[in-house]
Symmetry: C2
Subunit: 338 residues, 2 copies
């Protein structure tokens, strides 16, 4: 007997679609200088955010994003049932410290850069299942913490390869609620960890593209929908290289999304002007573009229904050195104007 609220192999269907009642986005100066600069709630000029380390700064970005979302929704942290959060720091330390400071019961997640979409999916499960009235989902990333942790000492300023993406400095939070006004979450498709043998930690786009494709195809098969059912299919942080690879893979599967397919990592920077090579990445990439630009487009009526697909590269600093290839993952969520 299949589960009542599951459709096909991997897709959850929400019978009382949870509402995104508010979002909060905080970014650094590089993101503010990009094409979406005016869509973010707050720009923090200082990469240290007044703290003594980039790690502590990242935690401040995360807390700020949550506080902005709470303020917009006119809620206190006591009115939130659960805090679902994750980030790229080892042992998701930014989220743990934010959870401590916010004092909300905490469910820690790790979905790499797909975490905001994993969190929206699980938050919607908690609400539609009757287990929560309101949850906050939030993630962060920081260019300088990610560089030193995954690659080289940030101060060293190592030359970046052209396939490499730029980690977004910032944080995004969304409030999901059983009631209220705003766009709703109607479906979620939970991805598999897909590994096509890509082993270069300087090319995440190539590692993640097959997973993004797999989840999108699965979503369309599970729901019986086609590409034209969506105004936009938008991946998390494939960047320029990964976006093109995913587009080709989707065509191989018989789905030509071309005109309605894009990626948050492609949208957030201007690669010519900003020297960002393959585009944006990091947990915050999909979170600030979804919580900012995309939700604004939906609220303005310019997009009616989108399929957002958070993407993540499931490696750590050691795994490629130990000979492992890099699995990718994609978690998809349908957001639509009600």
């Amino acid at each position: 007997m299949p589960a009542a609220k599951k459709q096909g192999q991997q897709t959850l269907v929400f019978s009382n679609p949870p509402v995104i009642t508010a979002s909060g986005t905080v970014v650094g100066t590089k993101e503010a200088a990009g094409p979406l600069g005016k869509t973010f709630d707050r720009v923090v000029d200082d990469p240290y955010h007044g703290e003594k380390s980039w790690e502590r700064a990242e935690r401040r970005f995360l807390e700020d994003a949550v506080q902005i979302a709470l303020k917009k929704a006119n809620l206190s942290s006591r009115e939130i049932d659960f805090f679902l959060a994750g980030d790229l720091e080892n042992q998701t330390e930014a989220s743990a410290l934010a959870a401590r400071d916010l004092g909300i019961p905490y469910l820690g997640l790790y979905g790499a850069c797909a975490t905001i979409y994993e969190g929206i999916a699980l938050g919607a499960v908690l609400i539609d299942g009757g287990f929560a009235e309101r949850v906050v989902v939030a993630v962060s990333s920081h260019c300088c913490t990610a560089e030193k942790q995954f690659r080289y000492p940030t101060e060293q300023g190592v030359q970046r390869s052209l396939t490499q993406s730029w980690t977004v400095t910032g944080a995004g939070a969304v409030i999901l609620a059983a009631q209220g006004s705003g766009p709703v979450v109607t479906h979620a498709t939970i991805g598999k960890a897909i590994d096509m043998g890509q082993a270069d930690p300087n090319n995440f786009g190539a590692a993640m593209a097959p997973a993004a494709c797999d989840t999108i195809v699965r979503h369309l098969l599970d729901t019986g929908r086609g590409a034209t059912d969506y105004d936009l299919v938008v991946t998390g942080d494939l960047g320029l290289i990964g976006r093109d690879l995913a587009e080709g893979l989707l065509q191989d599967h018989g789905f030509d999304l071309a005109e309605r397919f894009t990626d948050c990592g492609v949208l957030i920077y201007d690669p010519q002007q900003q020297d960002t090579h393959a585009g944006g990445s990091g947990c915050a990439c999909s979170a600030v573009v979804t919580g900012g630009y995309l939700l604004q487009q939906i609220q303005a009526g310019k997009l009616k229904r989108i399929l957002g697909v958070g993407t993540g590269a499931l490696l750590n600093a050691d795994s490629p050195k130990q000979g492992e290839t890099i699995p990718g993952i994609g978690h998809a969520v349908v957001i639509e104007r009600r």
Copy 2:
């Protein structure tokens, strides 16, 4: 309007309690030599488990635990809706690679050593909410990967302080299902990240005890139950020092659990014979004791209803060096014989 399946501030109530239909536990030789040695499904003599690194070995432990549980339940991985997993490696790499190899849609969690209980709680939410028919929840830890990652090079053999615990080498998996026979999960209490200012990364017990106490007190207040409603209240990996601290804190709150209160990290080793100082810790500690000894006691009718409280220390290798204190977390789940 409060959520229908939430009781009090932090407790979820499952109206169709998910069934733990099978479990799988795999440990190393040190765990096999301890008081619970005969309760585990498999003992792996080689800490490398046939691999070239401890990290790759840890992934094998995790996969073995899942395969054992699947075999006991006579299920293939294709019959599982979702794989909820986490571990202590940076970016939970053991779980990511296991997810790739198992091919089950993957929800990555990070709750430090409380992850198996966080996973059981979320797995029960997915099943009771109608979103899944069967899930596997699994975690791993490895003494040698944890030592080198959090403290010193393992080969260095640094002298361990007496407040330090011994990371359990092993993995535990449980299968939760909407139908079947076995003990059931009736409640889950999601913890807050609690920080009382403990800053010593060689004394996790002291960092986690206040969080364990907070969650237990919250659970009893939320449900209106008392200690006598449980045959056993068992924390995850407080160890000898943390167990005593938690017991005292619970007494301060008016709850005297003494005779029915213990800890998986206290049960798993013999501190006199095995030189384990404060006791056992790690994601696998609560997972193999719960998936082995505790479920066996319930199935044998010796325990009717227990409150299991996974405990986690929310630090990484850098956070104490950057001046941060260590938040703890506790997630509780009620397991009872049906």
